[in-house]
Symmetry: C2
Subunit: 367 residues, 2 copies
């Protein structure tokens, strides 16, 4: 039904990772449950995941995976528009543990199953074990009957890459050159691996992301492609903003870059929250030896850039911050034909991610 | 994605249960695991389920559901031809807990989710609890994006009915009039319910099945439709055979019956095993307060009639009995254009079922 493809690569077979702005068939998510990451038994996070899912489902089909234990509750919390399927997984980050879907010029679809080690394995990973997360991508391939490539142990999460669909990959050095992922590989070896498995020709490297401790600086909190030749990048003029220097450096590098087609990039600036968001209520999170603790007062990674494009809509994080409306306007200007849907995600941010981190899109195929 | 249809019935909406001999899109199965029903930790049963799945998959797509705990093992034991998806369930009888799929004249597909109570609930059911089994049908509808009807508490298992696809349902009084299912309903009320939910006009009632203690006499060990107007029915001339009287009575009733189209039925006789099969090795089955015990020496329900028709093939139980080859020849004569595939299922019989009990076909739809 779905086959592991061996001895070849997506690049060799004519497959590429489409841009997120290309037509999608379905978006996958995973219902949060673990009490040692989410506040209050994950109940507030579940509510916000549900809201994200319902917003997406207005434009794109959504399948929510859920553990056997949470099946009934999850099914009851979502509308009939959303398909619910059981799956076991360690935590609920479909972007990072799901497959990266690829298409070819004939409208066929395949996928990549990356090695996942909880954002750093035994070096600086966030929980142990991560075995069920690492198996999730291939389960999704099987459910969707998608043939897939494995990467021979190459560690990567979907949140650390963006594609323009025309040969260019955007990523960060902080993450992809981190010690907890592929420490024996050189930068150019990693670049080759990205190009081979994403069907790309060029990698644009940003430097630091804005969450060194969690994902080691995933690109999806910093910048993304709006369409080929155009990027969105976080921006602040406030030097005291904790994301100031990463944002400034990202814009500088983007302004100097050219993409796989040789184009200079048009940069759309996207604001940061006016006020940084810090962890609160961490005392309701279960203690667990295998999980990195969350502490009140820790800086949360509340970026507006962690939005999801899904067919006619952009789903944008909102935090009850002064800049919420500005972010929606700026994103609306980047995507003039789209419905811009703001969804409150502060609770998801408390758990370490956001809209883009908890979703994984499957592009349309011919079939 | 899939919707519960309320305030209407399949009959009113123009849906019917196709004959098993009509084109199928997929067959569903569930991997056995519970140590309090299956011998030796269910390992021998898993091997025979796998063999059944592989045989079917030569002609029809197969999806095997499996619990989270058994996922890796199940995936490793099956070829890539078979799709594996996680699901929680109490025991592995997809015929009885899966949905009954329906089609209409335009090639649309829907399903019925019956109430399931482990073959008799607190009256004479076989295990407790059965909550996950009762939820399985709707999960399969959701995975396959099939709209479905619920039956308002009407208890039925898929193994207790056969359809000719042209308005006739075959069942047994022993099962459908049993005290543990719908004791407050009269025979004619039950008949109406079958007709409404299977899109039928006539019910042909046989009397007893051959397993009074397990399923209370499911039809699928006794008789089935080969094609409209033709049935297969078990037969033995050996009066000492434990199935003799049920088989004789079934043939008598079938010979006197007419179907929904007014046709007399052509009856194809199918042999029984030469020697009855009795339980062995029950001492390796776990003890559990909630499950009916199995005892060495108990009669097993080893019927050749519990075969599955799946597109170009008929999958037939084999027991290393003297009559195995005869059964294959007789079924081959009923289905001259089909590949007749014998599969050893003694271990499945030890657990209380057979090929038909562990499978559930989804007919082809237009989509």
């Amino acid at each position: 039904m779905s086959k592991r493809i061996i001895n070849t690569t997506p690049l060799a077979d004519g497959y590429r990772m489409p841009g997120e702005f290309e037509p999608q068939e379905e978006v996958f998510m995973m219902w949060p449950y673990r009490g040692d990451n989410w506040r209050d038994g994950a109940k507030p996070a579940q509510e916000q995941y549900a809201n994200v899912a319902e917003a997406i489902s207005r434009h794109t089909a959504v399948t929510m995976f859920v553990t056997a234990e949470q099946y009934e509750n999850c099914r009851a919390r979502l509308s009939d528009n959303i398909r619910v399927i059981e799956m076991s997984y360690n935590d609920a980050w479909c972007r990072d543990i799901g497959p990266t879907f690829l298409t070819d010029d004939n409208g066929n679809r395949r996928a990549v199953s990356w090695e996942f080690n909880a954002w750093g394995g035994l070096t600086d990973g966030l929980y142990f074990p991560w075995d069920k997360d690492n198996a999730a991508a291939e389960k999704i391939c099987e459910i969707t009957r998608t043939d897939y490539y494995r990467t021979d142990g190459f560690v990567l999460e979907g949140g650390s890459i963006h594609s323009d669909g025309e040969g260019t990959i955007l990523t960060t050095e902080m993450c992809l050159l981190s010690k907890g992922r592929n420490p024996s590989m050189s930068k150019s070896e990693i670049e080759n691996k990205l190009c081979e498995y994403l069907g790309a020709e060029k990698v644009i490297w940003l430097g630091d992301g804005i969450d060194p401790d969690e994902t080691n600086g995933h690109i999806d909190d910093v910048a993304c492609f709006v369409r080929p030749g155009e990027v969105c990048c976080i921006h602040t003029d406030d030097e005291s903003n904790p994301f100031f220097s990463a944002a400034a450096d990202a814009q500088k590098r983007l302004s100097q870059a050219t993409d796989a087609k040789g184009r200079r990039l048009k940069i759309h600036r996207l604001c940061c929250t006016k006020n940084p968001i810090y962890m609160e209520g961490a005392e309701t999170i279960d203690f667990s030896r295998g999980s990195a603790p969350r502490r009140n007062g820790d800086l949360c990674i509340a970026s507006y850039a962690n939005f999801l494009i899904c067919n006619g809509a952009v789903i944008v994080p909102q935090y009850d911050d002064e800049n919420d409306a500005l972010a929606l306007r700026q994103i609306g200007a980047m995507f003039p034909e789209y419905e811009i849907i703001g969804v409150r995600t502060r609770e998801i941010v408390y758990g370490g991610g956001n809209v883009h981190c908890i979703t994984q899109q499957m592009p349309k195929a011919r079939q």
